[in-house]
Symmetry: D2
Subunit: 267 residues, 4 copies
């Protein structure tokens, strides 16, 4: 039987936070010992969340939570500002943080790394907890060593403002690190309607589809003579992040180091 | 048992022509009675094509072929210039032409329509003989009545020069005929890398992927709240045109009218 | 400007019903004049649904609703038992029913058809309101005339009990109606692991994938020498039915006939 | 500039062999120094292959070839019987073999490994040279550590006799090595038509589609709550193997060990 992991959750009322509550409730060896919330100090999580049967005190003062509660792990799902303070305090109390934010500065990341080192307390910071997306990026980078030719097509709902998506750009950057840089396509190719060939990134192309009915999808297509290899991720909802949080909590419990990015916990 | 259809083939040595020879040979009720070729006058097809067991005389003078041979159908696969003459002569001899060219002018098409009418002899002119592609376009047009939001992504080998492909543009035009014209995507969407959102056509987008290993593929994706509908055609080789030729020959034998486009033979 | 359509909704608290409330609220020319609900008689919809700003009385006695309210259309989303009564009463009051159930018996359907005829009042009964799914089936049937070879693969979440899905079986039946019946695959093919080739239906195959993360998807793949044609529907949530309800309401308002199946409203 | 690699090709007239000739011709630092062929002893490759401009002697006695020619690498593309002899002789002459056969027995593989070791001469034996297929299998195995739920669908032309394909079974075995063994699907799921859920392998499912127009395709679909990850390989023709041969030749030139499977040359 797996040993119980005692968890403090920061941000229980957010979209990610409420998914995390469900995760903790349904995972046998996960135990919620407390929450950090800027409201509801002194109340119990069962007072504000009637969908679960969890029972744990709420603290608005995070330090108090770290000192009073016997916790192994902090799941930090608030925002970069207060999240940074929570994370530092957790490390100082030898509570391992699992942090879901992409908003820390380079300086802040450096400070957390040093503190983790000094305290000999593991920490994982993951801008993307969707395991499938992380693997898609990892595999794409690996494939780019053997396939010079690649294009990315990402597909999202039509409420999305930016094109290409952040994940597509991140994937493109990871591919660029290992791919022999070439200008793909025929040297004489021409667009009879501007933009047909998509966005150019280091000689390869990224396409952004936006349609109602789509959610969040990406295909990375590699080609060489006679064959194509496609790596595709389809994300349906926020729940997709929870398996990554689960995985990170299970991993960090046995680690003393600083890790940035879920992919670095995966061999 | 189906009645035998006697066929004259114009252009037996071209890429399409040699596929047509195979089609005729393997189709039980198709009978090759002669070929029209600018070379090899007086020879037999078996002298120049050792892959088949066909046996039929070659004529360089097309009129001679039409007059001497007892033919039901002309399969015309040469080029727009001589092809136009062959087609007219065939009609004058009450031989039904099945023509695979997109190169005739509006005037020429008008002349053929009139001649077909006068001779009461059926003719089918088909710029695209790939039945799957024709159906993809037809279904896309039908779906566009019920889905305002659509994007096209076409994928070809990286030897292709033009983007978007001719088929993609044709599909877009057919969609435009029936779709309520709207500007898709979020009004405030922006490209952080130029071209990401593809080519704009009547408010919707077309994307062109070019990679070695691809052949000729197109997806038309329709979206509305909660669902997407995708129509996809994958063409692997020239053989894909032959089922269309087969279909056209079988249809024209019972027709006395002029038909432009294979889709108009399909209900 | 479109004329206002006055609507009675039966079943406002069900899953489909609550989507229908949203549909009515966001559609400019749709006006909710009343609801039929086995509870809450005499209350107003705004008393029980605080997500909308709709304002309409609730009746438990459906006859009373039809007689007192000035309605053009009944949207019937309860269950086959009471739904049948609601539908009959609506016809008797010359209110056009749009019915989303697949549970009526042949006898009941016959009775409704006759009554619609007698009352000269249009009615549409649609077992499937997802326009994309209806088009997928319709296109598949059309394609089957030109492609003898076809396989279906449907993909659903792993909570689904039956394989193949109802939609896959319905699609297969529609294909069977027009396809020349042949046994597909190599005559000597053999399964080295039983079941690999899927379920056999009239000589072609149906495959059922079940995985967490999937929602409701189906691909119909047609093949012939050198090409494939694929028709694919992806359904993400219940909202996907609402465009079909919207479409049916808009159509029925000008019709006096009985129609079974949304596909029969589509040319 | 890359150093020239001198190559002996065994089996130049086979399907793979003739592709290998083209590969050698178009690769700047590859030099054909001789061929091994059971016919045409004493002739030159240019006498029997008029599509290339290669110029190299043909030997029927392989030992003679290895002794007389100054070669770095043997590309062995004949059959398991004579291929085994060629490979042994090459090792004895310190010529590195790149072998494309899956037909050697365990004993033979053991013997070659020992000989490679003794001679300090690298050798690579690859049952599958399609880099994309090898990566698909490798990535599938990696993903199976993080996704318990998986299904495989492989799609081939309808001339194929066995279902599932060899590649699908190999992929399934690699997944099994790392996946926590569970019975997927709902415990109460039932097939209303036998075979719908496909072939069962260690609790997961494999589906085999067979249609004209398909070539050789495989999708491995992983699912977990809210997301799916798909790894897909499409192989269009025999050319797809040549990038793998190219890669293996480039790698083996700097190696002294025995390697089985292309995946073991890829990090």
């Amino acid at each position: 039987m797996k040993e119980t992991i005692n968890i403090i959750l920061a941000g229980p009322r957010g979209k990610m936070g409420s998914e995390a509550l469900k995760l903790i409730e349904r995972t046998e060896n996960f135990q919620l010992v407390g929450c950090i919330d800027r409201k509801h100090d002194g109340k119990n999580i069962k007072d504000i969340d009637n969908t679960s049967e969890l029972d744990a005190p709420i603290y608005t003062n995070s330090n108090e939570a770290f000192e009073r509660l016997n916790a192994d792990v902090l799941i930090e799902l608030t925002n970069p500002e207060v999240g940074f303070e929570h994370t530092k305090q957790a490390l100082l109390n030898n509570i391992r943080p699992v942090v879901g934010t992409s908003g820390f500065s380079e300086d802040q990341l450096g400070e957390l790394k040093e503190l983790s080192n000094k305290q000999q307390t593991g920490i994982i910071i993951a801008p993307n907890f969707a395991i499938g997306a992380v693997l898609m990026m990892k595999f794409s980078q690996m494939a780019a060593k053997y396939f010079n030719n690649v294009e990315i097509i990402e597909k999202h709902h039509d409420k999305k403002l930016d094109a290409p998506s952040g994940t597509a750009v991140k994937t493109a950057q990871m591919i660029k690190q290992v791919r022999e840089s070439i200008n793909q396509g025929h040297p004489d190719e021409k667009e009879t309607i501007e933009g047909a060939r998509g966005a150019e990134f280091d000689g390869f192309r990224i396409h952004s589809m936006r349609l109602p009915g789509l959610i969040a999808h990406q295909e990375v297509v590699f080609g060489q003579s006679g064959q194509t290899l496609t790596i595709k991720h389809d994300s349906m909802d926020r729940e997709s992040f929870m398996s990554g949080v689960h995985f990170a909590v299970e991993q960090i419990i046995d680690m003393d180091e600083y890790v940035y990015g879920l992919e670095n916990l995966m061999e």
